[in-house]
């Protein structure tokens, strides 16, 4: 029966796809626009493609997707488990020979670990696409040279490090949702407070761990 408690988490990750996609594509577009005005001052317009692809895969893809998922999935996990807590459903699990940690928390952590990197793959692709659209339609780059630049500058480790970050963020988001929900008390108000805390804690942890992981991956 563990499978059926995992399904809602994966479903909510699936429903996060449109919001993550929109965030990524607009971020890519803005990046291209901003970097071209900045870089043209140094006559380095050709660096637009590399700047977009590096920023998106290393940083903005995982971080922005993480923040969006924290707002959607972290909040829903905290609200769901919090409501289970204040309506005695978690106690009921214990009386039915079921470990609430195994039944409620473990599948959600696993779902976060798997689903957020998958979302970031989509975010990476759409972020680069956003940059491509602006660069070719507005900034006068040729499609061929922009794509060539993108592929030349993109390294495997850029993408992999971004996906590793995403996996960590996925665990942080679901862990915070579960923790705050599990320890909520005091009815509707308590569940509301738990939801807020889950999103805030996950968001701050995402930004903090982003720094730590970047330091770990890239500082030589």
């Amino acid at each position: 029966m563990a499978a059926c408690s995992c399904a809602p988490s994966l479903r909510s990750a699936n429903f996060s796809l449109p919001v993550v996609a929109l965030t990524a594509i607009f971020t890519g577009m803005v990046l291209a626009l901003q970097s071209s005005t900045g870089l043209s001052r140094f006559s380095a317009d050709s660096a637009v493609a590399s700047l977009v692809v590096l920023s998106v895969t290393r940083e903005l893809g995982p971080v922005l997707a993480g923040l969006m998922v924290a707002g959607r999935v972290g909040a829903s996990i905290a609200a769901e488990i919090g409501t289970m807590r204040v309506t005695d459903q978690i106690d009921a699990l214990s009386t039915l020979s079921t470990n609430p940690m195994k039944y409620l928390v473990a599948p959600r952590l696993l779902a976060g670990l798997i689903a957020v990197p998958l979302l970031v793959v989509v975010a990476d692709i759409l972020g680069v696409l956003g940059g491509f659209i602006i660069a070719t339609a507005k900034l006068g780059f040729s499609a061929e040279s922009y794509l060539n630049n993108t592929l030349t500058f993109m390294q495997t480790e850029d993408v992999i490090s971004g996906l590793a970050k995403a996996a960590v963020f996925g665990v942080l988001i679901t862990l915070m949702g579960c923790y705050q929900g599990y320890n909520s008390k005091g009815g509707a108000q308590g569940v509301g407070a738990a939801t807020t805390s889950a999103v805030v804690a996950a968001s701050v942890l995402i930004l903090a761990f982003d720094y730590v992981l970047t330091e770990l991956f890239f500082s030589r």
Partner: protein, 267 residues
């Protein structure tokens, strides 16, 4: 008086559930203050007491959901407080609990709720679960078609029945009922009480019910105990509740405003 009755039974057999000196405080508020209680195998004990007298905490202590600060809780002569996790889980599989508001899992259907304990304890396969759930639902007077509904679609009385079905599905030796009739109309209350008595008899279980419904207490219980300020102030046969001769019980059962119990409106 609990002492004299305790000694009478001690020589005969080990009570199913025995509490000695169970105390629990939350912060500086003492919720349970040295509870001594014996419940004989196959009997039903009703614990009455006002709101906030510690009834729910008492039940949660016996279930192992709350750890008491001191005292011993024995089931079949074994102290559950010193058991390790595996022993405690094995113990829990012999206990069923009907929660006050049902506590049904709202992400699952009714039949999945009823079969939950059976599946968790590997007492049946997934294929057998549905027919077994339907049998248990029938025992509490619910049609098999109810099994496909979600708990949110049920009335309060039906939720209580499903909660009862879930509690008895694994045929536990010990059953707990937390205010089984609260929030129900008097007729539905009587129906639920009747179901509880039937189920307990059929399974031969030992039962503990907490309630502040006097009619319900007399219908369900063989014996009764009154909890006041975290201590047992009276216990005796459930049918003597209305003429117990104890001033506190009298005030409580007859719902008088004046008496030894002063409502604490504010602390």
């Amino acid at each position: 008086m609990s002492g004299s009755e305790g000694s009478k039974t001690m020589s005969a057999s080990v009570p199913k559930i025995r509490l000695r000196g169970v105390s629990k405080s939350f912060g500086d508020k003492k919720v349970l203050d040295g509870i001594d209680l014996d419940i004989e195998t196959g009997t039903s004990m009703v614990v009455i007491g006002g709101s906030g007298s510690g009834k729910s905490v008492l039940i949660k202590c016996i279930l192992g959901l709350i750890e008491p600060d001191s005292g011993t809780i024995e089931i079949d002569g074994k102290n559950i407080l010193t058991q390790d996790r595996a022993e405690r889980e094995a113990m829990r599989s012999r206990i069923g609990m009907l929660f006050q508001n049902g506590a049904l899992f709202d992400s699952l259907t009714v039949w999945e709720n009823v079969a939950f304990g059976l599946l968790a304890q590997n007492k049946c396969t997934r294929a057998e679960a549905r027919p077994r759930a339907d049998t248990v639902l029938a025992a509490v007077g619910l049609d098999a078609t109810v099994g496909d509904l979600s708990p949110a679609e049920l009335s309060g009385g039906m939720q209580k029945r499903v909660g009862l079905a879930r509690a008895i599905a694994a045929q536990p030796e010990i059953l707990f009922f937390d205010e089984p009739t609260t929030g129900l109309d008097p007729i539905m209350g009587a129906v639920i009480d009747g179901l509880i008595v039937d189920c307990v008899k059929k399974l031969g279980s030992t039962a503990i019910a907490i309630t502040h419904d006097m009619l319900s207490a007399q219908r369900i219980g063989d014996r009764a105990a009154m909890l006041y300020k975290g201590a047992i102030v009276w216990q005796g046969a459930a049918d003597t509740l209305l003429n117990s001769g104890n001033a506190m019980v009298d005030q409580f059962t007859h719902g008088r405003r004046e008496g030894p119990i002063q409502m604490e409106l504010r602390r």
